[in-house]
């Protein structure tokens, strides 16, 4: 297949699992013999190792390190980020014309003008699949008034109607239905987070030397529950339990350093900074349990699956996306998302009341068999093939007025929002 991938960001720039997953899937599809062309935003990081099929020509209007205080500039950026940026849409149209994809595989469009891009794919009658790892349709719905969305496709539902949908979890689909009012009624496939671990590490003995080693990895932000982990660690330290917590991840560490101090947990909690995926696999294999008290609207969460694949059982929020795939007491421990529940489970683990070896072994087997990347890339491939085979008017791609239409839609949206 000729697969055109659209993603706001691709590695080496990474904000979270979304970009890593897109990069891995793109590379795997290319390695499996598909002709891949990936259209993504320009980044500031060196990317000399890029394969030739990555084109970093889009403009990104999101995740800027500079804060802008002018509200009108903020609104303008937000509009271009979530609704439409004609120059990005024109680049997509050009890519569609020159690459002539059988299918367009859309990932996170936040920051590159999602509504305009999707409208252009619809106008060009290009079959497209969207891979949802976050509730990105909500970004359009919450930042763009319905009458402006209607310029691009009637309702949000109409805009997404031609799409084949891959979603990480039912939880995510429900989130999108509730937050954006968008319930997908067409072709929807669930593809969970996966483990891409070609050389499995052997897990070291659990609670070696009587020390329980908790680990967590992810962006340093409240939604991931880092605050709760620090507070629970402080409580358990005061109880005299022997344990340590290693926190891996990028972000603003300063507030968490303060938090660790405030809870008197400096000798049990270490903020270790970001690590590569490969390094983390080694770290998981040396750890006893993975802490994941993430927020309840977590679409999925790659990290607990990766830890489970390394035989490190996750302790996770009971109704986050990844919880759909793991069974409580068999592959993981699920908790209500509060500090008391987290503290109780950590205490049980640190006291040796939980059979970590059993949990870790079953979790690793599940992940390696059911949640392996090799398995799910085949499923993704099948979804893309199904999408590509839908009836289409191939001549629509050559409509010389596609840019004119995109421009009119972009300008109308601007006029409606700012005039």
């Amino acid at each position: 297949m000729r697969i055109l991938i659209v993603s706001n960001i691709l590695p080496p720039k990474v904000l979270g699992g979304y970009e890593i997953a897109c990069g891995n899937v793109a590379r795997a599809l290319a390695e499996r013999g598909h002709e891949v062309f990936a259209l993504t935003a320009a980044i500031e990081l060196p990317h000399t190792d890029d394969p030739p099929w990555i084109s970093r020509g889009l403009s990104l209007h999101w995740f800027h390190p500079t804060e802008v205080s002018d509200p009108s500039v903020k609104q303008w950026r937000l509009h271009q980020a979530t609704c439409s940026d004609f120059s990005n849409t024109a680049r997509l149209i050009a890519a569609v014309r020159s690459f002539r994809p059988d299918v367009c595989y859309v990932w996170n469009y936040m920051g590159i003008g999602g509504a305009g891009l999707l409208a252009a794919l619809n106008a060009a009658d290009v079959p497209w699949t969207i891979h949802l790892m976050d509730r990105i349709p909500e970004e359009i719905a919450s930042n763009t008034a319905p009458h402006i969305v209607s310029v691009f496709g009637g309702t949000l539902h109409d805009l997404f109607a031609p799409a084949t949908v891959i979603a990480m979890s039912e939880h995510l689909l429900n989130e999108i239905a509730e937050s954006a009012g968008l319930r997908f009624t067409g072709d929807v496939e669930l593809v969970p987070g996966w483990l891409d671990l070609p050389e499995p590490h052997t897990h070291l003995p659990y609670r070696r030397d009587g020390i329980t080693r908790f680990v967590t990895a992810g962006a340093l932000q409240p939604t991931k529950g880092i605050d709760m982990i620090v507070e629970a660690a402080g409580r358990l330290r005061r109880e005299g339990l022997v344990f340590e917590v290693a926190v891996y991840g990028g972000g603003n560490a300063a507030p968490y350093v303060d938090l660790v101090n405030a809870h008197g947990a400096t000798d049990v909690v270490r903020l270790c900074g970001a690590r590569s995926q490969a390094e983390l696999f080694g770290i998981y294999a040396e750890s006893d349990a993975f802490l994941f008290p993430t927020w309840e609207r977590e679409p999925f969460g790659f990290a607990p699956i990766e830890a489970a694949g390394c035989a490190t059982p996750p302790i996770m929020t009971r109704n986050c996306g990844a919880s759909e795939r793991l069974v409580h007491g068999v592959h993981c421990i699920k908790i209500k998302r509060d500090v008391d529940a987290l503290t109780d489970v950590m205490r049980d683990v640190a006291s040796g009341h939980i059979d970590l070896a059993r949990l870790g072994g079953t979790a690793a087997r599940l992940v390696r068999q059911d949640l392996s990347f090799a398995r799910w890339i085949e499923r993704i491939e099948a979804v893309l093939a199904r999408c590509a085979s839908r009836p289409r008017n191939r001549s629509a791609v050559d409509d010389p007025r596609l840019e004119q239409l995109a421009y009119l839609q972009d300008m109308l949206a601007l006029q409606m929002r700012f005039a």
Partner: protein, 374 residues
């Protein structure tokens, strides 16, 4: 044609006191009638209003869609319901195309890949459609005069046809039973400054009377006209219905349309008289016509035997002088005027040309989509 074509007309307002009573809205009514006369077309008119609704009028189906625009002004209205309403139509004719309504509708129709025709009826000069070249998204454009066409030439490069009219020549016809008063000059237009009614009053000589028919939309101007008319034989009819108007067409001796691009207050007027429909109606009733050299008006009187053009006060005085003394027009001018309207601007003439244009657009659209994929 092998089957009935489905044509949707999109207009921001429809001809009714419930919506708007203007030339643009009346044009849509006339166009649908002209197409109906040819046969082979099923038409529906879509418009926007304060609430959803549907109704039938004169055998045509009207669909009113609730206005979703936050902008004020009739031509700034729109409805996303078009996305659901338009699939299945063979062609969409977007009236008042150079407005927000037109731009919004164009984006939808093009997205749906339905052949489209646009017509500017003077309701706006939307920059997205002109400078932004959104007008190029039409598969064809109908202009309502050569003058109107000239305004679009720089912005539009596709199929372009000029259709002036239509006029219902069976309704607007002479009445052999009604006597004409040759001294009676008739002027039919809304009472607004750019219609140049002041110029007619100023040039009106003794011996001729002037009847001005039209609703008052500019009170100060109306007051000015009344003052100018003092001492002259001038009558205002501000509430004429269709019957009264027809009776005046049939009993007057001369029709004058004096619109101007620079009104008496010094205001420049854009796109004055894209099409002077009342002039054609008057001529269909057998009236010779005198028109100003504004907008499309000179196009309407191509033959000096039944129509003259003036450019200023002196020329209009001269024409009135020749008319008063019987030097112009010669006998039979009224019949010539009517014959011209029937040949060039009647329902049949316009209906045949418009439907042929529709077919051309549909055919080209179909070929274009085939070719660009081959």
């Amino acid at each position: 044609m092998s089957s009935v074509r489905r044509v949707a007309h999109l207009t921001p307002a429809y001809f009714s006191p419930d919506s708007y009573v203007g030339g643009g809205e009346r044009y849509v009514d006339y166009i649908t009638q002209a197409v109906q006369g040819v046969g082979g077309f099923e038409q529906r008119v879509f418009t926007v209003g304060t609430a959803d609704g549907s109704f039938e009028r004169n055998g045509f189906s009207f669909r009113v869609l609730g206005n979703e625009s936050s902008l004020t002004g009739q031509v700034n209205g729109f409805s996303a319901a078009l996305w659901q309403e338009l699939p299945g139509f063979d062609l969409v004719h977007i009236h008042q195309s150079l407005t927000i309504f037109g731009a919004y509708s164009t984006a939808i129709v093009r997205s749906l890949r339905i052949p489209s025709v646009g017509t500017d009826l003077g309701g706006g000069e939307n920059t997205l459609m002109l400078r932004g070249r959104g007008i190029e998204l039409f598969d064809g454009v109908i202009s309502i005069s050569e003058y109107a066409r000239g305004l679009l030439d720089k912005s539009y490069s596709g199929l372009h046809e000029v259709l002036v009219g239509p006029v219902d020549t069976s309704k607007f016809s002479p009445d052999p039973g009604s006597a004409r008063d040759r001294s009676k000059v008739l002027c039919v237009s809304r009472v607004v400054p750019h219609k140049g009614i002041d110029r007619v009053i100023a040039a009106l000589p003794p011996g001729l009377s002037l009847t001005i028919v039209g609703r008052v939309y500019h009170e100060p101007y109306y007051e000015l006209l009344r003052r100018m008319a003092d001492g002259k034989n001038v009558h205002f009819v501000v509430d004429a219905d269709d019957e009264k108007l027809l009776q005046l067409y049939r009993t007057s001796g001369l029709f004058v349309q004096a619109s101007t691009a620079l009104d008496i207050y010094g205001n420049a007027v854009a796109k004055s008289e894209l099409m002077g429909l009342t002039t054609l109606e008057a001529m269909a009733c057998g009236l010779p016509a005198v028109v100003s050299n504004t907008g499309s008006l000179p196009e309407l009187v191509p033959d000096p035997r039944f129509g003259l053009v003036f450019s200023g006060h002196d020329q209009l005085c001269t024409i009135f002088g020749r008319y008063s003394t019987g030097l112009w027009p010669e006998n039979g001018a009224g019949a010539l005027a009517r014959a011209h309207v029937i040949n060039a601007h009647s329902m049949d003439a316009i209906g045949n040309r418009l439907t042929a244009f529709y077919e051309h657009v549909i055919s080209d659209h179909s070929k274009q989509w085939t070719q660009c994929g081959s």
